[in-house]
Symmetry: C2
Subunit: 124 residues, 2 copies
Amino acid sequence: MTNPGELKQASKLINTAAIAQYAAITDDYNPIHMDAEFAAKTEMGGIIAHGMLSLNLIWQALSATFGPDVVTRTVLDVRFTKPVRVDDVVTGGGSLREGTSGDYDVWVKNQNGETVIKGSAVID
Amino acid sequence: MTNPGELKQASKLINTAAIAQYAAITDDYNPIHMDAEFAAKTEMGGIIAHGMLSLNLIWQALSATFGPDVVTRTVLDVRFTKPVRVDDVVTGGGSLREGTSGDYDVWVKNQNGETVIKGSAVID
């Protein structure tokens, strides 16, 4: 089977409800994610979403493209390049690297086309 | 500042409630995660938890050790090595690599000490 050139994409609205749900399931209530007044005074200059809410879009893209067991045969390498803010819409996707059979450049971008996560997913 | 030799650890019970919550926030209702009868007939031999529920423990360990902005200065490289099953308790942690100032071997293990995720986190 030849792997597709482009991953199916997955998008999510990162609103305060999503952040609150994510905080609840992970017990991660750090005020940088929850408290606008606190977050405004930090270096981040306002609330940032949990990075995993965005990273998940890469897994959703991989899973939509290859099926859910892809997680067990993928090496993922990622860097968070830009914070995600409340009410951003983030989209995850990826492209097959030229000359490879299963190495994807993967990314998550916000609604302005800015890359918030970039990395690679190498599929066995 | 010298980075610590060991990350603070974080643990989570991955029960059906956690899986359902995670499915709800990600819209990932794949039956491999939700439907015991379906999952039993697959190669996985039963329900597996969403990989991100476990991967999150590495971020929690990093965040507990360095603060939540660590996400913006970390390159994470991970491989899922073993499925996580309903009612597993998974723990994330990591150790500083000898001779480095901020390269951690990171892992998530289940209650039997089996590694379910392994990788590295390189912190700027």
